[in-house]
């Protein structure tokens, strides 16, 4: 029976049906749910690794050991894992090895929109790209078979609209795979990439990609749909769905394998249509290769309103959708502009619409530290996680943010460059494990003046509460060791280390102000569970503003808590609104109570004392 499955769930089913035995990943939107689904399926070992490079090494090791293995990550995770991807492309493996790259066109939840099909060409491995959940499952299965047939890692490239779209999918049964070898390989020429062996492997890999190109000519997921011959479209991924929707009459060459490309199939298709275009998201990946084949693509440069850019017709940035595709096609003279009568024009409201940006949740344990940092007015180098939201007004507390683990290295660089201000680095528990550790080791080793704050909220927060080495639990809910930050940081060579409750805002302020005056590296660990964790939720309670003490001074508004509102009641002396706490949102973290200069928000302890 067919069921509605998200692309991520479908990939999990695909890996499970393919008999995969090991899966490793680091969480990252839009890829996270793949491992969460897989972890609940029988007969498969699934884990969170501290970062994507480790995850891919783990999958490679499992595949060397003859077990089908999978590593999943978001697009930027492949940057972290790239070293492993390159050597795996050289060695191949003993069993199927699949890497899932979940790209994020439009950057719904990312720092860039890199097109990871480029990694397939870069490393000379095949890349499969599904256009719905059924194909996501089918191509995951195909990826394992292909990996074994050609002794190569295979990339399954998906995008946010595939991962987080549910479409009807047929679920099958698991094809149990016996371990493909009796003993871990001692095949040094193949698996030990010293120069002498690597030099012999490179030509093997170049031949492999030629063989794959030959194979792709008859690969069933590359198919031709002949309709009208006046327009032919080469497409792949979710863009194929837009092609079907916007050009119902056009003929389509739908590619399930986007690297290497089937040269003859493309030439043959080109020969059957009057005009040929490529419809793909982000980079002109297919387009450039087709042009290199000497195949003539429709060039709209004579069409009215055409402006040349890096791609012939469709935008190179952002996400496509039927409206974007239709607009581009009209500009390129491919279709007629619709008669305007039935279109909804832009709506002029006559007033500005308030934005609704994401904010740190009420009760977020990061808030106190970010507020103190905003008060110190020193440069704060940020990292990837919920705390990046500290960049929004009124906190404005984050000055740089590039990629996972960047905070400490960037702060160190500015510091050793002789920048006159004292530099902070802030990052979360999971991000510290991910790539913060080597950077902190560098701070200790080269003794820069960086003050690092590890905001330990006891969970990987931004991606929706995944376990990590600090949580004492694995992905498959097994009890395990809990890695403590203080001994770890000391072992990395930092001597000035302190752990504080993240809600103890007074001591955090005092400590940071003291440390700024002292030379040498230091690490403050601000520890408190994410307010949304079940054990934290149990302790939620609501605070109240005492309207007789509050004079509307606005200090509590500056901590950027969504539970603090401006009341309609005005302070008679200063004529400004008093503070009001939203009882539905307040968790009782007491940060507002602690920053209030007039003690107008009683803490729970004070409330209890009053009742007695």
């Amino acid at each position: 029976m067919k069921r509605l499955l998200s692309g991520n769930e479908a990939i999990a089913y695909g890996a499970w049906e393919a008999g995969a035995m090991v899966a490793s990943a680091y969480p990252g939107t839009p890829s996270t749910e793949i491992l969460e689904y897989l972890a609940r399926m029988p007969g498969i070992y699934a884990e969170w690794a501290p970062n994507e490079k480790v995850a891919l090494d783990v999958a490679i090791g499992a595949a060397y050991a003859g077990r089908r293995a999978l590593a999943t990550m978001k697009h930027v995770g492949v940057n972290v894992a790239a070293d492993a991807l390159f050597y795996a492309a050289m060695t191949g493996a003993e069993a199927g090895l699949v890497i899932v790259s979940a790209d994020d066109p439009a950057m719904h939840s990312s720092q860039n929109e890199q097109d990871n099909r480029q990694f397939a060409r870069f490393t000379r491995i095949p890349c499969l790209e599904p256009s719905d959940s059924q194909e996501a499952k089918d191509l995951t299965l195909a990826a394992f078979d292909l990996s074994e047939q050609f002794d190569t890692p295979v990339m399954l490239r998906v995008t946010t609209r595939i991962c987080h779209t549910s479409t009807l999918t047929e679920v099958g049964t698991r094809r149990e795979q016996s371990t493909r070898i009796d003993k871990y390989p001692r095949n040094h020429q193949k698996y030990v990439m010293v120069p002498a062996n690597a030099r012999k492997r490179h030509p093997v890999n170049e031949q492999r990609i030629l063989d794959l190109a030959q194979f792709s000519e008859n690969f069933a997921p590359n198919w031709v749909e002949m309709r009208s011959t006046s327009l032919g479209i080469i497409s792949a991924g979710v863009a194929y769905q837009y092609a079907r929707e916007v050009f119902p009459e056009a003929s389509i060459l739908k590619l399930g394998m986007v690297y290497p490309l089937p040269v003859n199939l493309i030439r043959e298709f080109a020969g059957k249509v009057e005009r040929l275009i490529v419809l793909e998201e982000l980079d002109p990946f297919i387009e450039e290769q087709v042009r290199l084949m000497g195949v003539q693509l429709y060039d709209p440069k004579d069409a009215a309103g055409y402006t040349p850019h890096a791609k012939l017709i469709f935008p190179i940035t952002g996400e496509l959708d039927p409206a974007v595709v239709r607009q581009s096609a009209i500009r390129a003279g491919l279709i007629e502009a619709p008669v305007q009568t039935k279109m909804q024009g832009p709506i002029d409201l006559g007033f500005a619409l308030p934005g609704r940006p994401p904010v740190l949740c009420a009760g977020c344990p990061h808030r106190s530290t970010l507020y103190i940092l905003s008060k110190l007015k020193l440069p704060v180098n940020g990292d990837i996680g919920c705390y990046t939201l500290g960049v929004t007004p009124p906190l404005n507390a984050i000055d740089t943010c590039g990629c996972m683990g960047a905070s400490i290295g960037v702060a160190h660089g500015a510091s050793v460059a002789g920048d006159s201000e004292r530099h902070f680095a802030v990052l979360g528990d999971s991000t510290f494990f991910h790539t913060g550790m080597p950077a902190l080791l560098n701070v200790a080793y080269n003794q820069s003046n960086v003050i690092t704050v590890i905001m330990d909220n006891r969970i990987t927060g931004m991606t929706g509460h995944q376990e990590n080495p600090g949580t004492g639990q694995t992905l498959q809910q097994k009890e395990t060791v809990t890695i403590e930050f203080e001994p770890l940081v000391r072992a990395l060579g930092i001597e000035r280390v302190l752990t504080l409750d993240a809600l103890d805002i007074e001591t955090i302020e005092k400590t940071l102000k003291d440390w700024v005056k002292l030379d040498g590296p230091a690490v403050l660990i601000t520890k408190h569970g994410c307010a949304l964790l079940p054990e934290e939720r149990r302790g939620w309670s609501t605070l109240k503003v005492n309207g007789e003490l509050c004079n509307g001074c606005t200090v509590c508004f500056r901590i950027s808590c969504p539970a603090i509102l401006k009341s309609e009641q005005m302070d008679p002396k200063y004529n400004r609104p008093l503070a009001l706490i939203d009882p539905l949102m307040c968790t009782g973290c007491e940060i507002c109570a602690r920053v209030c200069p007039r003690d107008a928000i009683p803490t729970r302890e004070q409330m209890l004392a009053q009742e007695v």
């Binding site: 509605l4 479409t167 409201l349 308030p354 609704r356 939201l389 401006k566």
Partner: protein, 199 residues
Amino acid sequence: MSPQKMNFMLVGVGGQGTLLASDILADLGVRLGFDSKKAEIHGMAQRGGSVTSFVRWDRQVFSPIIAKGEVDILVAFEKLEALRFLDQLKPCGLLLVNTQVIEPITVKAGDSLYPAQADMQAAFEKTASRVCWVDGLALAEKAGNAKASNVAILGALSALLDSPAEAWLEAVKAHVPPKAIEVNRTAFRLGREQLLVEV
């Protein structure tokens, strides 16, 4: 209006249950014999940001995204979000709005004003062929649990679509925990009845 080819857009704020409602609606499409697709953006769902999803029913659905101006029914779980995504609606489209107000941080911080009800009403009526209101929160509280407001809103939507309640209730049942089925069933009925009375 009996169910046919349909483009739904659901908009709201993180925590309102829009994504669960989208799952139920997509599932219902399958139960009614359609091809059905549901697309959502939920990266910031827990942090008070806007949450949007598309649900499409047709004989065969291609794009998971609905082109701007082609939404048949816009279901807004929050009034300001209805206004924000109003231009997604087709000219003769329907608008179902939950009366709930959730002030964004920009309003709470005093940087901007939450639009006046009269202005919103005027914009809604100018754009949609029909505007329906439902107080999902009050109905859910009446049913016994404020969390069921999303299902109360679906109840109201079911009245708009003039479709049998049984299929809806089966879809609801498949997506809520067993102990919450009764409350959700009641919330659904209340939402449906309220709108049926108005019609």
